[in-house]
């Protein structure tokens, strides 16, 4: 029996898909630890590269793999619903700054989406790619959900979101210094709104208050954009 036939047999159950996903994840975590947690190489990036490598060498068809991996991705549903809990808990702490946070959030999330989409549109990218780009600043599970709803490519969105997060996490602290913003609440909000989970991790690396504002901005931006983006897209398509 050759390797291809063997791989085909193995894919008759979802077990192999689950094993290679877990292996890629754990290898990525070890690598991240070994490299002392670099913000430019998050486990999402190295893990997806390793997973793609496993899929190619085995060799398995990506679509078959993705169907089998449903055994794991099914849990993304309740996990995304669960984001409401930390969002609610963070929400309790900002009541005093409700107006600044709300105004910055609305202006920031409109800019994050509009600036990118208008540049992409001017460069002549297709509607499906624009749909994949629109949720680029949102936390990955919400971004994938929004992208699917708008007719984008979920895989492309996951990649775009990761690149955006790395970029925001590495450029916002120097940008803030350049613009003379020292307030941890300002830097935190910018990190979470533009760089979702990766920006939030960077924020907690600076100080707890920056991290708390980042995680709040990430959650509120996700909730707001999940409502606004599909409505806007529906309106534009009419």
């Amino acid at each position: 029996m050759n390797l291809q036939a063997l791989a085909h047999e193995m894919m008759a159950t979802p077990a192999l898909a689950v094993v290679i996903t877990l292996a890629a994840y754990m290898l990525a975590l070890s690598l991240h630890q070994l490299m002392r947690y670099p913000s430019w190489a998050p486990p999402m990036l190295t893990g997806s590269l390793m997973l793609a490598f496993f899929i190619v060498v085995l060799p398995i068809n990506y679509d078959t793999y993705y169907l089998d991996a449903h055994w794991l991705t099914l849990l993304l549903g309740p996990a995304t619903v669960g984001l409401a809990i930390p969002l609610y808990e963070q929400f309790q702490h900002i009541k005093r700054l409700l107006i600044p946070v709300t105004v910055s959030l609305v202006i920031g999330s409109i800019t994050a989406c509009a600036a990118t989409l208008s540049i992409a549109w001017a460069l002549g990218l297709s509607p499906a790619i624009l749909a994949s780009l629109a949720p680029k600043s949102l936390t990955t599970p919400i971004a994938i959900g929004v992208s699917e709803g708008l007719g984008g490519y979920p895989g492309l969105t996951a990649g775009i979101v990761t690149v955006t997060g790395i970029l925001a996490a590495s450029t916002i602290p120097p940008l803030a210094a350049l613009l003379r913003c020292q307030d941890p609440r300002v830097i935190g909000l910018a990190l979470g709104l533009n760089g979702h989970g990766l920006g939030t991790a960077r924020g907690f690396g600076i100080d707890p208050q920056t991290g708390a504002f980042a995680s709040l901005a990430m959650g509120l931006n996700g909730a707001l954009s999940a409502i606004v983006l599909p409505l806007l897209a529906g309106w534009l398509n009419h």
Binding site: L22, Y25, P42, M44, G47, S48, L51, A52, Y62, Y66, T73, L76, P78, A79, T80, V81, G82, L83, A84, I85, P86, L87, E89, L97, I99, P100, S104, G108, T111, A112, A115, T116, L117, I119, L125, L133, S137, T140, P141, G145, G149, Y153, G155, L156, A158, V163, L167, T171, I172, L175, L179, C181, V186, I187, A190, N194, A223, I227, P230, G234
Partner: protein, 122 residues
Amino acid sequence: MLKGFMWLMIFLVIGNLLQTMLSLPVVGSVLGMLILFTVLIVRRRSSRSMAVAASHLIHYFTLLILPSAAGLFFLGTTLTDNWLRLLVAIVLGTLISSVVTLLTMQAMVRWQQRRDEAAGTP
């Protein structure tokens, strides 16, 4: 843990039902999150059992997203034909929105401080 998990799944089912019945362009999980957030705000307290289940699941987000994320490398020409333009849009868009967010929040925090000070003086 199991009780919280069941409740998260119930909100997911409600989200899925709403999406199908109203044919909304948002997936059920995101709708479920929005509904749960609204419920928590209305009843003014969090749920211990759901908090436990959610923190376990959120801890493994990267793992749960990996299968979709690996799809990036199987997009073929969609990626190879467009990656440079995509990168330009991402880099410029992110820089613009980062500067706008920093300046807006900075101005708004100062505005709030002035308002608080004005309210504090008799």
